[in-house]
Symmetry: C2
Subunit: 584 residues, 2 copies
Amino acid sequence: MAELEYAYASGAYAARLVGSTPTIRTMITKQNIRIIPLGGLGEVGRNMMCLEAEGAILIIDMGFRMPEEDMPGIDFIIPNISYLKGKERNIVGAVLTHGHYDHIGAIPYLIDRLGANMPIFAAGLTKAIVLRRQEDFPRLPKLNINTVKDGDIIKLGPFTVEFFRQNHNISDSLGLFIGTPVGNIVRTSDFKFDLTPVYDLPTDFKKLEAMRKRGVLLLMSDSTGAEEQGHSISEKTIMENLEEIFKISKGRIIAATFGSLINRIQQLIALSEKYGRRVAVDGYSMKTNVEICKKLGYIKSQKETLITVDQIKNYPDSKITLICTGAQGEGQAVLMRITNGEHKFVEFKKTDTVVFSSSVVPGNERTVQFLKDELYRQKVKVFHYKMMDIHAGGHAQKEELKEMIRILQPKFFLPIHGQYSMLVNHAEIARTEGVPEKNIAVAENGQIINLSRDEIYLDKKTVESNYVMVDGLGVGDVGEVVLRDRQTLSKDGMFVVVVVIDRQSGKVKGSPDIISRGFVYLKESRELLRDTRRRLIDIVEGSTGSGGAVNWVYVKDEIRNRIGDFLYAKTKRRPMILPVVIEV
Amino acid sequence: MAELEYAYASGAYAARLVGSTPTIRTMITKQNIRIIPLGGLGEVGRNMMCLEAEGAILIIDMGFRMPEEDMPGIDFIIPNISYLKGKERNIVGAVLTHGHYDHIGAIPYLIDRLGANMPIFAAGLTKAIVLRRQEDFPRLPKLNINTVKDGDIIKLGPFTVEFFRQNHNISDSLGLFIGTPVGNIVRTSDFKFDLTPVYDLPTDFKKLEAMRKRGVLLLMSDSTGAEEQGHSISEKTIMENLEEIFKISKGRIIAATFGSLINRIQQLIALSEKYGRRVAVDGYSMKTNVEICKKLGYIKSQKETLITVDQIKNYPDSKITLICTGAQGEGQAVLMRITNGEHKFVEFKKTDTVVFSSSVVPGNERTVQFLKDELYRQKVKVFHYKMMDIHAGGHAQKEELKEMIRILQPKFFLPIHGQYSMLVNHAEIARTEGVPEKNIAVAENGQIINLSRDEIYLDKKTVESNYVMVDGLGVGDVGEVVLRDRQTLSKDGMFVVVVVIDRQSGKVKGSPDIISRGFVYLKESRELLRDTRRRLIDIVEGSTGSGGAVNWVYVKDEIRNRIGDFLYAKTKRRPMILPVVIEV
């Protein structure tokens, strides 16, 4: 087993990979440790958490999330790390549970503020994905990432972190068994129990049992599926259903899924090989992931299977599978480009079969519906998850979550990862599994969770955890004001009026200029504009006519209010009105 | 049975309510009739269809739909009636299938263009809802609506329309059995088969059998549920599950649903009476509907049951049910106002139970999730449709749709109401039920469907059917350009630059003004603004400096392009740039 000695240059602690034999922490003190979620508790995505003991801080995951619907123009939202400002030297390292962007995507935006040299620990695939993404940020310093695997143990200050394999829908998902000064914490990755996974090992229940025997003070467990009844579908079922499609399809199979769904991509490659099809992979994120996985052995294929998308035309349709991005109806993704006739090498034929091997992310329902409609119009055969089980989520559902609690028998329970309703329902599951109510904490981002051997409780004080928005090169510079303006602009557009005034006479020179966008189509609104100009002149000359100093702030307010009311009366729309008054 | 003689003043045809005994049309000619969908085929909502025979036009429904996500500021979308322009005199009347806005909501916007005096036929509740809505448009002339009911037959030019009762989730949903010169058409309303409805009669299968015996040339059937497997849930099941909630709830029950879901409201009132609760109804649309239904007897309640929302405080919590709007998380609806602490009379208590007795309309998933989260934060008990069957949709699912085709044995089939994918899947259902492929037409809005005794086929020619958008008082004045501007403005905001130039010297006077909204927060971007101003002066003086006539169009383009590129390089954002250049 690998042995890694590690010294964290600017930090006060040393990280050391001490081997893979389980060691039981016995140094239980009366003190508290603190758990501080900076993201992912009360929302889906943007996962980041701090564990604090004896002044040392361990970071778990640094993910981003997609913006909400009322945040036009925002690229994504990252965790707020104000709390860590000034505490950088106390950070003993970061561990990453798996390679999905909601767990690693914020690294490029946070790492230089936290200390670029901080030791990061991740499994092989996770590390490769993080490093590949870092290439998009050439100005950032090199990361200090160390590879860990199932069974490895590292010591980071007062924490002993032991990694254990979990089933998810990307390889190398690692749960954490963390020895702390107050006791052992099990902190799951995103996980599900799959007794019959495909191209992955089944859950190691014996290892979980062994953890219980060592004593689990606190379980922090993935809540994403807590409102879903029953058990998640096994990948074996998905594979069988996908195989049915391969059996009956005579033309090309075009399978769209998430670029990060490595296991599904492997399934589709294996089925293609079984049915004598070559496989082209298209879509930037997917191609990148497949390249990484091929190199590291996480995706296996025969030598001649993978072809490039421009080679599709060299094979009969019955010998072709195209795996691509765009199952969410994203405008620039491959499936949409083929559908719109904008793809360089592929256009649909009536004999094609399109498989949506993915769920629909909330918020994308309508877009996916429009894409589906368009596929039907183009007469291709469509299979989606409502018709048969050709997609399984990556998260444990109610029965699995119960089982996790039954196996580990934790004294305390903290639901993590999920909207608040999911956390509450997961807490309810724990209660029905026998964890006493007072031993369950339901907490949100920014709350400080105190844990001792005897109790778990939330501080009244919270730390800053509001959204930090990324828009282009700007991180955190788009705030409430800018967003509210964008929303207003999007609803009724804008209306700029430019009035030039002769300083001496107080009269408006010429005809006021009007620029309007998103309000009415100007060419068709001559009368409205003429009336508006007349009113503008009245307002301005009414204010300047009396002689003496003119209060331009007042004049502009008058324009905003009175022109605003006039336009509303005429149109029932409220564009943003921007007066420009120039004295010459 | 009522007998109504009706003369359509400006039209060429007479409408006559001839009684309720079924008459079989025998005048089958070789000619075609034409079916022209102006909305609802290829989309959910905005239902409107024309039937044309012997130069006469019969209109079925006039509904609106909600805007799509990329249509900020739009209130709703109505059918495009360009096709009917100049043909107003040929319209023999309109029949309305039921009182939901996706079938009647466009009437106020279309009726005076089609002929305000046109005879409209609708069931009692539908008529009352239409008339109530018309009050919001006081300038419109009075409608000419006639009441019809199950079994009534009216003759409108070459069409004999016989109304038959269908189960939906509003009372008075009427299917149409239409005698035409080529044969009988069955045109369903929105419908489902409910063998055990609550406060409604079950489907009259004998009547459907009788229609088959009279011969069904064409079936046009509701496709909304064509992609849902199995059978819709009976209202009896919903009632039983709701009763479970009434049995266990000790505090107030706050039930949110659609304002138009009259049957559900009746169920909640009946359960409240059974469990000794008073009922307050809150939310504008819901209150209006309940008033109408009470008056007409569509909602029955004991005298003392209904109270006003301000009286809630006079009763113990265990004696109160509040039925309200807001189950979709709409910002201004009652449930959201209570949740945000903005309701005048109600605030949540921990003992409250909130019931979401409705589905989530696609596109509202995230909003509903945020509402649910907030309810959990306020510690109320929440029941929603994922936890138990407390909502049933109003549309027949796959097995019911099959049954409809089996019963009616139509020669031809045309799926109506639904996204294109639903129409295709409904067509596939008809095919598996034995309707030959060539006898099935899948058509979209604007396509002309020709029907004779022997064939059904689509014209190559289409009629105008693109969206007509309503925004405030404007109908159809918001087009592509305005919408695209709104989208651009919403993403990266706008940037107005005002440059005043001395005509004689060609120099910029003073410092250029910059107004920006939705782009960056100006106070925090001084440096960016300084650099922008410097570049602006360079661009302008570079163009004017050489003397001679200045091409201001060119200068403005230069500002747009070069300042645009500069801002993009600095921020990776592309605000809309609006140059204002003033010569003095």
